[in-house]
């Protein structure tokens, strides 16, 4: 059975470590990336179903990741996670095609709900919140 492929990008290693297990438990294949430049390469090589990205990262911003992911595949759902959330940033993200945005700190369950919603919309019927 095909599982949704998910890429999580955050330069803070703790974020990936904390979220990976929960996302895998949902039924996703999860790849963690702390280097946004490497994430852009991964996005070019492989069509991820869901990309979760931080915004404020060194050299490459989450907005660039969002644009790259949407260019690579219009089907990719991009979820923005940020500690610098503002109404303007939220609007910019939506305009550039983000699926959703959530402000840090957040409860892992809130992010999992979004991932489940996105995966179900993409036809992955086996995925469910535990």
């Amino acid at each position: 059975m095909k599982k949704p492929e998910l890429l999580l990008i955050d330069d803070e290693p703790m974020v990936g470590q904390r979220l990976k297990g929960g996302l895998e438990k949902l039924g996703c294949v999860v790849e963690i990336c702390e280097d946004p430049a490497r994430a852009l390469d991964l996005i070019k090589k492989k069509n991820f179903d869901i990309v979760i990205t931080d915004v404020m990262m060194p050299e490459i911003s989450g907005m660039q990741v969002l644009e790259a992911a949407r260019t690579a595949s219009a089907e990719t759902r991009v979820i923005i996670i940020t500690g610098f959330a503002t109404a303007n940033l939220a609007r910019e993200a939506m305009e550039k095609g983000a699926y959703d945005m959530i402000a840090k700190p957040f409860k892992p369950a809130d992010l999992r709900k979004l991932v489940v919603k996105a995966a179900l919309e993409m036809g992955y019927s086996d995925i469910k919140e535990y």
């Binding site: 959330a85 109404a87 303007n88 939220a90 609007r91 910019e92 939506m94 305009e95 095609g97 983000a98 959703d100 945005m101 959530i102 402000a103 700190p105 957040f106 409860k107 809130d110 979004l114």
Partner: protein, 265 residues
């Protein structure tokens, strides 16, 4: 559903645009009067007191400032509650600090010809205490320390010298279709945070006067000059009071809007 906030000192014209827009979108129309009536009913307060604080500029010289700020805060809290329920078109001059935080709220300024634009006061001989056009702008400036007609505060500025009411309504409806005005998890959470912050501000404003409250997921940040040197006791009391309120997990108090400048108790 998104939110439309129509702000104008021309009460008659802005009401007509709001009514047209709400009808076309199938949204609930909320006017200043509706807000006052709902708040009075829900908070068991005399409607007259709440109405006066939104209408009579001269009251600012007579009533105790903290009391007035509390009434405004109560109305803003009610506005947050109304926004959380459904898509609304709000027509009025209250709540700007709330709307500016919500990415799915389209903020619209309506300008009209001062010679033909009618204020609420011009329309109603029954309510002689209603504010004039300039009175509304003055009220906004007194409360929010901003020029109501500064286009930078809004997403859209519509000038009725150049268009009629249905045209203005159509522009609002078309603008609202843009993806950036769609609700999302962040903006929906913002509304919950703002509702809690307004509730706490209402509880504190009579005690502290000039106070700002922010909240994020149950963590509450209180900013007041009262917490300046010697205000440790006040800060401790405020923390204890707020911690008793439902939905609050943690409280931080600051003497001013500098996030790392905390008074540690």
């Amino acid at each position: 559903m998104s939110i439309v906030a129509i702000v104008s000192k021309y009460a008659d014209e802005s009401f007509k645009i709001a009514e047209f827009t709400a009808l076309r979108l199938g949204y609930r129309l909320v006017t200043m009067d509706d807000l006052v009536k709902t708040a009075a009913k829900d908070y068991h307060m005399p409607e007259k007191d709440l109405a006066q604080v939104t209408r009579d500029l001269s009251l600012w010289q007579h009533l105790f400032l903290k009391k007035k700020l509390k009434l405004v805060s109560l109305l803003e809290h009610k506005l947050c509650e109304l926004m959380a329920n459904d898509g609304i078109v709000f027509c009025g001059y209250l709540g700007y600090p709330i709307f500016k935080e919500i990415s799915h709220a389209l903020k619209v300024l309506i300008l009209a010809d001062p010679q033909t634009g009618k204020s609420a006061a011009a329309d109603s001989a029954m309510q002689p205490d209603l504010l004039s056009n300039d009175g509304i702008a003055g009220w906004f400036e007194k409360i929010y320390h901003m020029d109501m007609e500064d286009p930078k505060l809004y997403d859209l500025t519509l000038n009725l010298w150049q268009m009629d009411i249905p045209e203005a309504g159509d522009i609002i409806i078309n603008t609202l279709k843009q993806k950036r005005f769609e609700p999302m998890t962040y903006s929906m959470n913002c509304m919950c945070n703002l509702e809690l912050a307004c509730q706490i501000k209402t509880a504190l404003v009579e005690k502290l006067g000039d106070v700002e409250v922010k909240s994020h997921d149950g963590t509450v940040y209180v900013y007041s000059k009262v917490f300046k040197k010697g205000g440790r006791k006040a800060a401790k009391e405020v923390k204890e009071d707020i911690m008793r309120m439902p939905g609050v997990n943690y409280v931080e108090v600051y003497r001013e809007r500098a996030p790392f400048d905390e008074i540690h108790i």
